[in-house]
Amino acid sequence: MSALSLAALRTSCGVPPKIIRSTSRLLSNDGHTITNVEKTFHRRSCCVQTYILSVTRLYSSQPHNPKVPKMPTWEPVPEDQLPQPAQIPADLVDKLERLALVDFRTKQGLECLEKAIRFADQLHVVDTSGIEPMDSVLEDRALYLRDDAVKEGDCAEELLQLSEKTAEEYFVAPPGNIPLPKREERAAMLKHSEF
């Protein structure tokens, strides 16, 4: 049963079935691993969509690094410890789309956004009172200061070749910032368009 579930899971991860059979043979030799995988599955079944397979890597020439735990050593934070799920008003979606120039207004897009926020909500469990926020892991390094001497530039030809459209020695800008229409106008626009 476990091998079959394994197969199902593996397929959904995009690994072809042929390899799975060899995997199951490997696994059956190492009973310990199967049991653990089973246990993992049971634990995971109450959590949604975490396809974690902690088995040995196939086709890896290096042995398993002992510093890397064979099983995950963390558990997702239980729901009751998280704050309220974030409500994303339509205006905010509008603003985000405008800032990022990414279309994610579909149901799938919004779900993805909500899940991402939920995932990040786990950070709220950590107590950070009295601690300065860290904005770079480089903060204990010295910032290198360079001399004011000309060392670069003079490569206009090379740079212009990278651009699709140029005019003499200038880059031609893509069509300008066309601001996204407001929410209400959009609905009207989409109705009349072919999308």
């Binding site: 904005d135 770079s136 390094r141 005019a167």
Partner: protein, 533 residues
């Protein structure tokens, strides 16, 4: 009640002028300026019974291009005009895999400017990314220092010349909120022929110092004086060349109007200003425009660009915090000298600032503060003045008038700079010597000056000779002329003998007319007094 009527009618008068206002009619602008109530007018004594007038509130955001050989984060050259995209490195073009490397000269420039403006220098400052989409910003973000800039809390002290003769020097302060290092964007040119936008990245990545000022000013004149003073300071420090027309100093003004004591009104931005004079006009126009709107019962519209909304900031992950050290004692052990920016060392190396220079000129030469102000305000005028002093024995206090009135007046009329003056310092000195030694009178000296201006190269002596303007000091000749005048005006002589001394001036005038103004006035007076006693 009467005061209210006066105030209201004055406003109406202003508005009538504004309703006929077109930006190109510069003469109208001048009228507005002179009829404007003085922007620093204190509370009128009758304020209790009158509703307070709307006053302007002006805050400035200044971007000063750092005078360095290379850009802020890359080693490409900084030059005003060069073939398009020839001063662009891979980092400036934001090709993937490139990283910013901070230019020490830019840090020193920012610290120097902060010290000159009495700021607190932050020992630790941080870099951020400000994200917005525009064709001239290849990375899609600008590296700036929004959260913790290199210098905060400073003061810019500037002076205004006020009073009927512009002889009163009034000192004012503007609070500087912060000075931050940031990248400049590229330039976009619009090609209307092909309806496309062309991008030149030569300017992208050049170091800028953004100076954020509090809205402490109330009219265009104050803003212009503050910017002028900042220009002089930056030029003296060498951190920025301060040329507004070349875009080295960019000023954006935030203008609003309100009644004193009430909350601030809606702000509008005045941008794309390329001279100090235009800055004053543009701000005053905007203030009048807003007052006009409010008086008619409307509301001021504010068109902010989309990326002005306060989002799109994140810490710059590729740059650790910037540390500047207080003095040599606080340097960590083993640090390379060229890796350390030491505030003490920079403070000791600061050149003479304009305000100090003005005080020094007053002390050294005994001239008045307003003269000193005019001298320092004009490029090259101090050097001119000092060159004249070297070539003449005349007192500085007597020379200064010639330099600030005659010379400067003529230069301004023809829109010339000091270096373009047709009269050189030695030539002017010679003219003054002629006057000092009694060869020509002071009124004649002014005439000679004008002639010298129109025919550069001719010396004062030559002109005096040619036009026979030399002082007549031949006593015999003077005696005979005076005698003639005395003889032909017996009534006046009688009046003088009876005690009316003022009539003597009339006789003197007659003598001067005879001699075409070339008589030595002191001598003439003496002779006349003798003859009429």
């Amino acid at each position: 009640m009467a005061a209210f009527c006066v105030a209201a009618s004055e406003l109406l008068h202003n508005m009538k002028q504004i309703s006929g206002f077109y930006p190109k009619a510069s003469c109208v602008i001048r009228r507005i300026r002179t009829t404007n109530p003085r922007c620093d007018s204190q509370i009128q004594p009758r304020a209790k019974s009158t509703p307070q007038q709307l006053v302007g509130v002006v805050g400035l955001e200044i971007h000063a291009q750092i005078n360095s050989s290379t850009k802020l984060f890359s080693g490409s050259s900084v030059r005003f005009s060069a073939p398009p995209n020839s001063l662009v490195s891979f980092f400036d073009a934001s090709l993937p895999g490139t990283l910013p490397v901070l230019n020490r000269r830019c840090v020193e420039a920012a610290v120097m400017t902060g010290l000159a403006l009495n700021c607190n220098i932050n020992r630790k400052s941080l870099f951020d990314r400000k994200h917005y989409f525009y064709a001239d910003l290849p990375a899609g973000y600008q590296i700036t220092q929004q959260r913790q800039p290199v210098a905060v809390d400073g003061t810019l002290t500037y002076s205004l010349l006020e009073g009927k003769k512009r002889s009163q020097v009034i000192r004012k302060n503007v609070h500087i909120k912060q000075i931050q290092l940031e990248q400049d964007s590229g330039k976009s040119l619009h090609d209307d022929v092909h309806s496309q936008t062309l991008i030149d990245l030569n300017r992208a990545g050049v170091g800028l110092m953004e100076l954020v000022m509090e809205p402490d000013m109330s009219c265009g004149e104050e803003a212009a004086a503050a910017v002028r003073e900042l220009q002089l300071i930056l030029q003296a420090l060498g951190t920025c060349q301060g040329n507004m027309s070349e875009g080295q100093l960019r000023v954006d003004a935030n203008v609003s109007v309100h009644r004193p004591g009430e909350p601030l009104g809606v702000r509008t931005e005045v941008k794309n200003i390329n001279s100090v004079r235009y800055l004053a006009r543009a701000i005053d126009y905007e203030i009048q425009r807003q007052i006009g709107i409010l008086q008619r019962g409307g509301t001021v519209q504010n068109e902010t660009r989309a990326y002005d909304s306060k989002s799109g900031f994140m810490p710059e992950p590729n740059l650790p915090p910037l540390i500047v050290y207080e003095d040599n004692a606080s340097l960590p052990a083993g640090i390379d000298a060229c890796q350390a920016v030491v505030v003490q060392k920079i403070k000791e190396g600061l050149p003479e600032l304009p305000s100090i220079k003005r005080d020094r000129l007053v002390q050294t030469y005994g001239i008045l503060p307003e003269h000193s102000f005019t001298l320092v305000n004009e490029d090259g005028l101090v050097e001119y003045f000092e060159a004249v002093l070297m070539a003449t024995k005349k007192e500085p206090r007597k020379v200064i008038g010639w330099v600030t009135n005659e010379l400067l007046g003529h230069l301004k009329q023809q829109d010339l700079s000091v270096s373009q003056s047709p009269i050189s310092p030695p030539a002017l000195a010679e003219l003054l010597e002629l006057q000092e030694t009694g060869h020509i009178s002071s009124s004649v000296a002014k005439q000679v000056f004008q002639k010298m201006w129109r025919s550069p190269g001719k010396t004062a002596a030559q002109i005096t000779q040619e036009h026979d303007l030399g002082l007549v000091s031949d006593t015999a000749q003077l005696h005979s002329i005076c005698q003639k005048v005395v003889d032909s005006h017996p009534d006046e002589v009688h009046a003088i003998r009876n005690g009316n001394k003022k009539v003597l001036n009339k006789l003197m005038g007659l003598v001067q007319k005879e001699t075409k103004g070339r008589a030595d006035p002191v001598l003439v007076r003496k002779i006349l007094q003798e003859k009429t006693s």
